[in-house]
Symmetry: C2
Subunit: 448 residues, 2 copies
């Protein structure tokens, strides 16, 4: 189905595949706006020091130079969070907080390309950012908006797995782990390297066997409701802990927050949220809820929508927020390469207006204008070939209807006949009145 992009990692779609992508993007825009998120768009480039400078992780950054001779100071953004943080910082005096924004743009990462992992791809992000205090209910709201956005698309069922950083940090510290971030980065690889691999990494970090065992047990806990809390408490009680009261209260806070989160999301979009204590997310800067989302039957694709709550969007501190991001191109790639979603046709035109002869092209143009005035996309035949040829042309383009104008002399220019070239049915029609069946008005995106 999908044509292999000739430049690995830089997907390009056929016209009909692009209709699928556009449908996804438009649906996301619509759902985000319905929930009061406004769109912003940022420039594609950022100063290199904002993109990680010389650090190891920044190896994936595409650095820009100009033939003319500028030295390299800028790179292409690799996500939409870095530019969003700058945007908020620059405009903090004029934006209204909590600031609710969505942003749908391409990002670039110089990773080794593989299936579903691109070097250029669309991300669709929503974030709510406060100036000082971010109410906890926004952690549920952002997940609900994303769950509704995914549900509005013709996709397999989305399962949103959630955890809470306070729960994890309280537990980890309670069992004596000092480098919580390091341990989290290992646990984040659970799906890739398995429990044994994670245990090996943890041992290398100096984590005791009993602590490693405990946090691997913690990662097994999941429930689609608040019941995970009791399981955590049970595990805590059978695990040797340090009696760190601060850790214990952090754990309790996290359990309560996650229970509320999962139940709120499931109340709004039933069957979506699962408390899953294996969810780690690699990034250090999350401080509350973290989310990952898989599509049923497509777990191999990894998370298609992830995010979390953070205490400071900007480097200097302040601007706590919560956000999630959909990897749109990865989704589109899976959907079109497996033929799961297809466009009903590859062109916008519902009608090809035939041309009797070149002297009468003006009549065909007039008919087309009248159809367009009523929102019916159409095109006029490029040549005045025999009608059979013009029908063939419509058929090759995938245009469902051909309009035959009446010959110049006899009567109103808008009157004619319209033929459904799939069924062969032909009826008299008036260009100011006729409409195609609703299903044929525009290309639609349907399950393949």
């Amino acid at each position: 189905m999908s044509r292999l992009a000739p430049l690995s990692g830089f997907p390009e779609w056929s016209p009909s595949e692009r209709i699928v992508e556009t449908h996804l993007l438009d649906t996301l825009r619509e759902v985000f706006a319905l929930h009061g998120f406004g769109e912003i768009e940022t420039r594609a480039i950022e100063p290199l020091e904002r993109l990680g400078g010389e650090a190891e992780a920044s190896k994936e950054v595409y650095v820009l130079t100009r033939r003319g001779g500028d030295s390299a100071e800028f790179g292409l953004h690799f996500d939409l969070t870095v530019p969003f943080a700058r945007y908020v910082e620059e405009r903090q005096g004029t934006l209204q907080f909590p600031f609710r924004r969505f942003q749908i743009q391409k990002v670039w990462r110089g990773e080794r390309p593989q299936e579903g992992r691109f070097r250029e791809f669309y991300q669709a992000d929503i974030d709510v950012v406060a100036r000082e205090n971010l109410p906890a209910h926004l952690e549920a709201e952002v997940a609900v908006v994303m769950a509704r956005a995914l549900a509005a698309l013709p996709l397999p069922t989305a399962r949103m797995r959630m955890n809470d950083r306070r729960l994890v940090e309280g537990f980890y510290r309670g069992v004596g782990i000092s480098d919580v971030a390091g341990a989290l980065r290992s646990v984040d690889k659970l799906g890739k390297i398995g429990a044994q691999g994670v245990a090996t990494e943890l041992a290398a970090q100096g984590v005791s066997d009993s602590a490693a065992l405990a946090i691997l047990e913690l990662a097994k806990i999941q429930s689609p409701d608040a019941s995970f809390g009791q399981a955590v408490v049970d595990l805590w009680e059978t695990t040797p802990t340090q009696g760190d009261e601060q850790a214990q209260s952090l754990l309790a806070e996290g359990i309560n927050a996650l229970a509320t989160l999962v139940e709120s999301v499931n109340a709004a979009v039933p069957g979506t949220a699962i408390a899953d204590l294996s969810i780690a997310r690699g990034l250090d800067y999350y401080t509350g809820a973290v989310y990952e989302t898989t599509l049923e039957g497509h777990e191999d694709l990894g998370s298609v929508c992830s995010g979390g709550r953070y205490d400071s969007l900007v480097a200097g501190g302040g601007f706590p927020g919560v956000g999630m991001s959909i990897g749109v191109s990865r989704l589109v790639s899976r959907l079109v390469s497996r033929g799961m979603l297809v466009a009903t046709r590859s062109v916008p035109s519902a009608v090809l207006v035939a041309v009797i002869d070149e002297d009468n092209r003006g009549s065909s143009d007039t008919i087309a204008s009248r159809l367009r005035a009523r929102g019916i996309a159409c095109e006029v035949s490029p040549t005045a070939a025999k009608f059979g040829k013009q029908i063939q042309y419509a058929d090759r383009r995938g245009i469902p209807f051909v309009w035959f104008p009446r010959d110049g002399d006899d009567g109103e220019v808008g009157a004619g006949h319209v033929k459904d070239i799939r069924s062969g049915d032909q009826v008299p029609a008036d260009a100011d009145v006729w409409v195609p069946p609703a299903d044929d008005l525009k290309p639609r995106v349907v399950r393949g």
Copy 2:
């Protein structure tokens, strides 16, 4: 109005300015699709050799390297024609011709930034490309589609100035100019360097004084109809020519084509087209119609929509086509910086649903869901502050309506009151029935 972008040449809009830009982009998409143009999108990068290699003109290209170490082989595209040509070349076996496509993407040029000249900007292109023969009427059609797209936007009147390369080449060759492309490049600077400047450049190219005088006279001819033809013939007859019959027949062919073009476009979109023999367009590859478009009262902005007909889209030859391109960001910049277009509000939400207290947040969420189910964008108050504070919050965000839920105990959750905070009017309302006035449903873009 418009906040100065902190990185010169890389414009970023405020949320309300972005609404203006989105309105323009959505309108263009809609008009293009109504005329049977399908959308494609290409990757942002191209191999350097396709971007002009080491040539002088390619100094504006942004070259990409990866921290990881790839050598520089790719650059950011500087227009949408180069990637479109590659797309057509790669997919010639599957595309249907004439292929009608539109493409709206950002492009990058490392030019010295100045007002209305950006380093990152949106272009919106339409092209029709044939495999072998491109009928002349498509030169009119493309201009008509662009004229209608511009007319669909709340812009000053657009004037589309047109010329024909055959007319120019016939005339130039007739008066003895051998380097037609060189002379054209000079005439293209008429607006910038004036007739005297052009004459000096032509003399430097070895063009005789009488020939220079003649082509400067030719550039003065314009008419909104076919009458320019007689003026050209008159000039030709009073100018010493070489008696080159081929040149003369090219001239005649060009005059006829341009007359048909101008009259066809004006028949479809009255008052749009002007034959203007000063229109040169710098690019060598045009072979028929060439177009430039100015907005009345904003001639200083230069051409906002330009293009032409070409014999071969791809380097190897073949694929004749005709296309035009709108410089969208330049337009948006002018419109927002002068306050000519403004959004009626900066957020999508028509309604802020107030929250009585945190225990009743669920009722407010339910009301919001019911409004959204009927397409009414809304958000729930982030805090359960006093209603006065919640109204203030809506006011600061520019949300026109505040919904007050009825207190939990007495009656249906969807019932409540809705207040227009601009007028202060408050009415009882049902979340399954109430609709805002049509003008308030979504942010609209209006003349400032």
